[in-house]
């Protein structure tokens, strides 16, 4: 067990070193930087979504929090002139407040209800932001968002990348700390058996709400980062796609593990960009959909469990292979 922990630690350090050195090695290539920035932002987003599943809940509408974070942070930054590095946290707080509201409504519900309500919420909020609040939000045209670092600064993308990477590392360390604490233990107790958890003196409602708020907060933070990086925000940020990406990343990587969303985001983003460069517009969605279905059916613990699965099945394959040879 100790051995495994050490392997994980080395791998983590190696991954971080890669993340830090990659832009330097590629000579501050702008295309790679943009890919990396989006990737790291979605690592935060997917990790936030995944955090929710630790408590046995699931959301199909995290785009709502992503978008609320983006909109609130933008509007405050525009109105007050504060730097986006401060307003992103306010955006996250707004998302957490909305998350609390949604959470209170559905915390006592079965997972289907929660999924339906969150899914519906994201669709409805898009309509509202686009039409009802268009005087503030600019309707479907959206609003311009102040950039994280002014693009007059030389190599501003590099600074943006490193600052976002730093935030991502801190967020994941925070998740790790929470999940290794008593709270994390309570989450898994609730996830495994809510009745038994209650018998053990854990209040499932409180912990589920906490998980929902934390998840919404960091989804909002990720949304705010994305919007300030892109420089504009439109109601399309509440799209079904945005809700589905963190789910796809987390599942393909491995649900309920810290590494899962990170690995999933990296693998699927690279695959996605690869398919795009092959010129598949609709085809790539279909391929991602098929991969998702196959992963859920055949590799339910995601890519993280791949080495384990191979180890488990390797002897069988070996036997079969030898049989083939002896024939």
């Amino acid at each position: 067990m100790m051995e495994k922990n050490r392997v994980v630690l080395y791998l983590t350090i190696a991954a971080l070193v890669c993340a830090v050195l990659f832009p330097l090695v590629t000579g501050l290539n702008v295309y790679y930087l943009t890919v990396l920035i989006i990737m790291v932002i979605f690592i935060i987003f997917a990790s936030a979504w995944n955090f929710l599943t630790y408590s046995g809940q699931g959301s199909l509408g995290h785009a709502a929090f992503f978008g609320i974070g983006g909109y609130i942070s933008t509007l405050i930054a525009v109105k007050s002139g504060l730097t986006p590095y401060l307003t992103i946290f306010i955006g996250g707080a707004a998302a957490a407040a909305v998350g609390l509201f949604i959470g209170i409504i559905c915390v006592r519900m079965k997972e289907w209800f929660l999924a339906m309500v969150t899914f519906g919420f994201a669709v409805i909020i898009q309509v509202l932001v686009a039409s009802q609040f268009s005087s503030v939000t600019g309707g479907w045209d959206g609003v311009a968002a102040p950039p994280l670092i002014s693009n007059t600064v030389p190599n501003y993308l590099v600074y943006e990348y490193y600052s976002i990477l730093l935030i991502a590392v801190m967020v994941i360390l925070l998740f790790r700390t929470i999940l290794n604490s008593k709270i994390g233990l309570a989450f898994s107790a609730i996830r495994e058996n809510e009745l038994e958890a209650r018998a053990a003196g854990i209040d499932p409602v409180r912990y589920k709400l906490l998980a929902f708020m934390v998840s919404a907060y960091f989804a909002g933070l990720a949304g705010a980062l994305e919007i300030h990086y892109l420089g504009y925000v439109t109601p399309e940020i509440f799209g079904v796609d945005i809700s589905f990406w963190p789910i796809i990343y987390s599942i393909s990587g491995g649900l309920g593990t810290l590494a899962g969303p990170i690995i999933g985001t990296i693998v699927i983003t690279l695959l996605w960009d690869g398919l795009q460069s092959l010129g598949l517009t609709y085809g790539r969605f279909i391929i991602i959909g098929v991969i998702l279905v196959l992963v859920v059916i055949f590799l339910p613990r995601g890519l993280v469990s791949l080495p384990e699965e191979i180890k488990k099945r390797a002897p069988k394959w070996k036997v079969r292979f030898n049989k083939l040879l002896s024939k």
Binding site: E111, W112, I124, V240, G283, G289
Partner: protein, 293 residues
């Protein structure tokens, strides 16, 4: 705001007609949930496929689009059965959230296959009866609305008779009530899964046809809004309850049309969500829902 009786009735009829499409979707969802305890989140996409099937046959054959129910329902039944067999059966009884994840994959696949076949432009067709209205008292009702309401009633009565009077329907209800006991008395529950998923998809196909006939626009990505409303109805009426779906659908259809009439069209899509939240606060299991296990 002063609303006269005739306007009130008029809005009621609009609501009834709007509710019909949602009822068909929600009934299918509930039937599937009742038997399999699975929520198909890609149900709105089945409606979308139904709409495109109707559209294609309409362009090819020029038949009256109502007749094309005879095409969209069987085709969607076949699609539904294949989806159940290939995607949902392998994950039955595994993790609680897996069916949701499978549905997401299905949404991507269905939407983009549709976009590949039919392009992603908005499409619309005209009903042959578009210009005809029926005057009842002081109300003017497009005859299409009446046909849609009657069609829905016929489909639902058919489903009711099937579930209540036929032996196969009895088996479906038995599986829905107690899967293990149904298995013990020799019912092939996996066949019931396939059957209920097929019927649910067929109902979504019928809803798709009615969507097209009523002159509403559609594109490959339109499925999620009607699906959200169907979910709202399912929650309002109670998960797994077919009478609940019908009443919930009527409530939603009428409420939506009153909203359009009084506050404005932009709130139309939000009202489903507001009703949903109110119902959830008052009665979390829905109006007709079984108590949670």
């Amino acid at each position: 705001m002063d609303i006269g009786l005739d306007i009130f009735l008029q809005v009621m009829v609009w609501g009834l007609y709007a509710g019909c499409i949602y009822i068909l979707l929600a009934t299918g969802l509930n039937l599937i949930f009742g038997v399999m305890k699975v929520v198909n989140f890609a149900h709105g996409q089945l409606l979308m496929i139904g709409a495109y099937v109707t559209f294609s046959f309409f362009v090819l054959t020029g038949f009256n689009p109502y007749v094309l129910l005879a095409a969209s329902i069987p085709i969607l039944i076949v699609i539904g059965v294949s989806i159940e067999r290939l995607c949902f059966r392998p994950i039955l009884g595994t993790g609680k959230l897996n069916e949701i994840f499978i549905s997401i994959g299905l949404i991507y696949i269905l939407e983009n296959v549709a976009a590949m076949i039919w392009s992603d432009e908005w499409k619309v067709i005209q009903s042959p009866f578009e210009a005809i209205t029926v005057t009842i008292g002081s109300m003017k009702i497009p005859v299409d609305y009446l046909i849609i309401i009657v069609t829905t009633v016929v489909i639902l009565v058919g489903l009711y008779l099937f579930l209540k009077k036929s032996r196969l329907g009895l088996a479906v209800r038995a599986t829905s009530q107690n899967r293990k006991a149904a298995m013990l008395v020799g019912i092939n529950v996996e066949r019931m899964d396939m059957l209920s998923f097929g019927i649910g998809a067929g109902l979504a196909g019928a809803a798709g046809t009615l969507w097209v006939v009523s002159g509403q626009v559609f594109n490959p990505y339109m499925g999620s809004v009607p699906a959200v409303k169907a979910f709202a109805i399912v929650i309002i009426g109670g998960l797994g309850s077919i009478p609940g779906a019908i009443i919930g659908g009527l409530i939603l259809g009428i409420a939506e049309n009153f909203t359009v009439f009084t506050i404005g069209g932009a709130w139309k899509d939000a009202v489903a969500f507001l009703i949903l939240i109110i119902v959830l606060i008052i009665k979390p299991t829905g109006l007709f829902g079984e108590e949670a296990e």
